[in-house]
């Protein structure tokens, strides 16, 4: 009989490593003597990259499954709420150009496509405002829930903004103290192989050889196991997604009582875009750009100009940190008994915060599909690779959509982005369909899709995508239903706008009183 899988060894202690350790240990009962053994090796010399401050709503489930209290998480990781993203200047570049990609599904999403009814009189209100209440919550700086809401429960679907460094430390403590994860702080040197090419063990400076049955590579850009050891090729996606450099900065609030935006603000620039994420104690801001389309000096100037609106002359003196981005993914993510999670598997760009959600998806899949033994592992690996190739392709399509739906002609960056040669075939086909009908669940039919058709609708219709409706008149019943849905959305919007507290007010209350578990 094949040897059963008893020990998972994770290398790397950033967000990816600790999410992997926590999720696997919690699901496979590592704190009990009969549970699966989970070891995490973190090099004391390597600093984690520490950006990646936006999550998807999936993070709520991920944390809950690890047995983490949402109150503790919010208090200790400098967390605020995120209710989607506001895209400014992406469509025309005009001062008043913006649209929202909220996290709440359109009203009646599973029953009716409201787009064509909205299109008839769209001058009244944005698509997102007409079908969803969340844009108004964001515009008014309101929180997605009440202090009386139980932990992880939402009034309006929400994700988080967090301090990535504190988050890794927080998960680490929880994994070690509550979940029985075996922690080794040491430098990994040689990778020792079995005759079949599997990893037999990793040699460390002070702890000797660490043997294991499955090795999870969470070593970030260095890709110690999947790249350096297994030499799995890296496939660049720079021909599709042009962003390759980031200038990041932490910005203090002017006044401790400043509002905290409850959404990510993304403002398009001449050769990229600027992210702006509000944490309770500071903002994290960064300019990501294509070095082919602008210089670092120009990009820096644009970032400081952006900051000047909120922090005045201090914008001239804040220290920027440069991070190189090499957009791309591995040809395979799981080889032999090694699987890559996080940046070692791939990284595209920060748009739509796809990095943490891909970690969660990969870890959930590994944990739920954990091979019983070595014999099962290749089968699981094959399906994992197919699934994640598909997932990465969908993310690439969705990110690219933001650029090709733009109508900006003012710079080469925007014009080049619409060059058909840079657009994946899969996206081109969808765009052809979507000229005549809305993105639907038929287009994204896999289990656990990263982005739902609703996300595509918000982006396409937020960006004023040209659409040719068919001539057929809708039935009277459907027309009535559409009117009812619009009215219902207005009612719900008013109700929530009056009931929900300010984002900062709720966060302060969480620090003072905490959420109840029930």
């Amino acid at each position: 009989m094949a040897k059963s899988l008893k020990h998972v060894v994770i290398v790397g202690g950033g967000s990816a490593g600790w999410i992997a350790a926590g999720s696997i240990a919690a699901m496979h009962n590592s704190k009990s003597a009969q549970g699966l053994k989970v070891t995490l090796i973190e090099s004391p010399d390597v600093k984690s990259i520490g950006v990646g401050e936006g999550t998807w709503p999936t993070m709520r489930t991920t944390l809950q499954k690890m047995g983490i209290s949402e109150t503790d998480f919010i208090r200790e990781c400098d967390v605020s709420f995120k209710q989607g993203a506001k895209f400014a200047k992406w469509v025309t570049g005009a001062e008043d150009d913006f649209y929202y990609h909220p996290l709440v599904l359109p009203q009646g999403y599973f029953d009716i496509d409201l787009f064509k009814y909205w299109q008839k009189n769209k001058q009244d209100m944005s698509f997102s405002d007409a079908v969803c209440f969340q844009e108004q919550l964001c515009e008014k700086g309101l929180a997605p829930k009440l202090i009386t809401s139980p932990e992880y429960a939402a009034v309006a679907n929400y994700a988080y903004h967090l301090n990535a460094g504190k988050f890794a430390e927080f998960l680490k403590a929880h994994c070690i103290n509550q979940l029985g994860v075996n922690y080794i702080s040491d430098h990994v040197g040689e990778v020792k192989s079995t005759e079949t090419g599997d990893i037999a063990s990793l040699s460390t400076k002070k702890h000797g050889d660490i043997a294991g049955d499955l090795f999870v590579d969470c070593t970030g850009f260095s890709a110690l196991l999947i790249g350096q050891h297994f030499k799995v090729p890296f496939i660049s996606k720079k021909d599709v997604l042009f962003i390759d450099t980031a200038l990041a900065v932490q910005v203090p609030y002017q006044d401790g009582a400043d509002e905290i935006a409850s959404h990510t603000i993304s403002t398009a620039q001449d050769a990229g875009w600027i992210w702006d994420i509000g944490l309770p104690s500071r903002r994290g801001v960064g300019h990501v750009y294509s070095s082919r389309h602008t210089t670092q000096a120009e990009a820096e100037k644009a970032l400081r100009r952006y900051l000047k609106d909120s922090i005045g002359d201090k914008s001239a003196s804040v220290t920027l940190r440069k991070i190189d981005i090499n957009p791309g993914i591995r040809e395979k993510f799981w080889v032999n008994n090694c699987v890559a999670v996080g940046i070692s598997a791939g990284f595209l760009e920060p748009l739509e915060a796809s990095a943490l959600v891909m970690i969660e998806l990969a870890v959930a899949t590994i944990s739920e599909q954990l091979p019983a033994n070595r014999e099962c592992m290749d089968i699981v690996a094959k399906s994992f690779n197919e699934r994640f190739n598909y997932n990465w392709d969908r993310i690439i399509d969705f990110l690219k959509l933001h650029y090709i739906a733009s109508k900006r002609e003012d710079t080469a960056f925007w014009r080049d982005n619409r060059d058909p040669a840079s657009i994946p075939e899969s996206l081109k086909s969808l765009m052809t369909l979507w000229q005549h009908r809305s993105p639907s669940e038929y287009d994204f039919h896999h289990k656990r899709e990263v982005f739902s058709a609703a996300s595509y609708q918000y982006v396409l219709y937020g960006m004023d995508f040209s659409f040719t409706p068919n001539e057929r008149a809708p039935s009277e019943a459907e027309q009535k239903m559409a009117q009812r849905m619009f009215a219902e959305n207005q009612k719900v919007t008013e109700k929530y706008v009056s009931a929900l507290p300010k984002n900062r007010e709720l966060i302060e209350k969480i620090h003072q009183f905490g959420f109840s578990k029930i």
Binding site: T148, F513, F515, S516, I518
Partner: protein, 236 residues
């Protein structure tokens, strides 16, 4: 809205509180916070639940008087005179506030309360000295203050052992009207049975066992409230 004034023998030398209208004053109150010391008495008349304070999200035990906001079935049916009045309601129109000058807790009166005037009722001061009524009110307030501290220790223990659960009551009245009552929490009997024996013993010593059974038995008053409301519906 309240307008609170620190009670002062000069400023309030003529102030009186007309107690005759106390029950009428609360005619539209559908619940009241209660404290541990009065659980046994409250449980004889009202269903006891636990609710989250809308401002802090913290649980507090409450006595329920009605089945919807602004409804007081006890008052509407004329039963209220015969019932025990929770300390929180007894204490009005007095409150404890932090004195802005001394930073110490001091007695305050809500001068916007309709019962507060100078013509009739219980005087606050008699010949410049605190009246027996005022002294009594101050005793009630200190009992309440102490009660809220005990409440929160009790609730923390309940939460630590997962002994609270949310209940949604689906009510159907005789006239066909349906209603769902949400936001109420009660003792989780199943979990209570699983509490380890050393904790059971601790609960016994702290007097929690009696409080828990008072709260659990009091829930049956809900059906009485529905009966009364049905009766009230029949006689418009």
């Amino acid at each position: 809205m309240h307008t609170l004034e620190t009670v002062n023998s000069e400023r309030h030398s003529k102030t009186k509180v007309s107690l005759a209208s106390t029950l009428a004053k609360h005619a539209k109150v559908h619940m009241s916070h209660i404290v541990l010391q009065e659980f046994a008495e409250v449980a004889q008349y009202y269903p006891i639940f636990f609710c989250k304070d809308s401002d802090t999200g913290q649980f507090q035990p409450v006595a329920l008087f009605g089945l919807s906001v602004d409804e007081n079935i006890y008052q509407a049916s004329g039963l209220w005179q015969k019932c025990y009045l929770p300390l929180k309601l007894q204490s009005t129109p007095f409150y404890l506030i932090k004195d802005p000058q001394t930073e110490r807790p001091s007695l305050a009166i809500d001068i916007k309360d309709t019962r507060v005037q100078e013509q009739q009722g219980e005087a606050l001061f008699i010949n410049g000295k605190a009246s027996p009524y005022l002294q009594q009110q101050s005793v009630i307030l200190s009992e309440l203050t102490q009660g809220f501290v005990l409440n929160s220790a009790f609730i923390n223990d309940l939460l630590a052992h997962n002994l609270l659960e949310s209940v949604a009551l689906d009510i159907k009245y005789i006239d066909g009207q349906a209603q769902q009552l949400t936001g109420l929490y009660t003792i989780n009997k199943e979990m209570l049975e699983k509490v380890p024996s050393e904790v059971q013993k601790q609960f016994q010593q702290q007097g929690y066992t009696a409080l828990l059974s008072a709260a659990m038995s009091s829930v049956s008053h809900i059906s009485t409230l529905i009966d009364i409301k049905n009766r009230l519906k029949r006689q418009p």
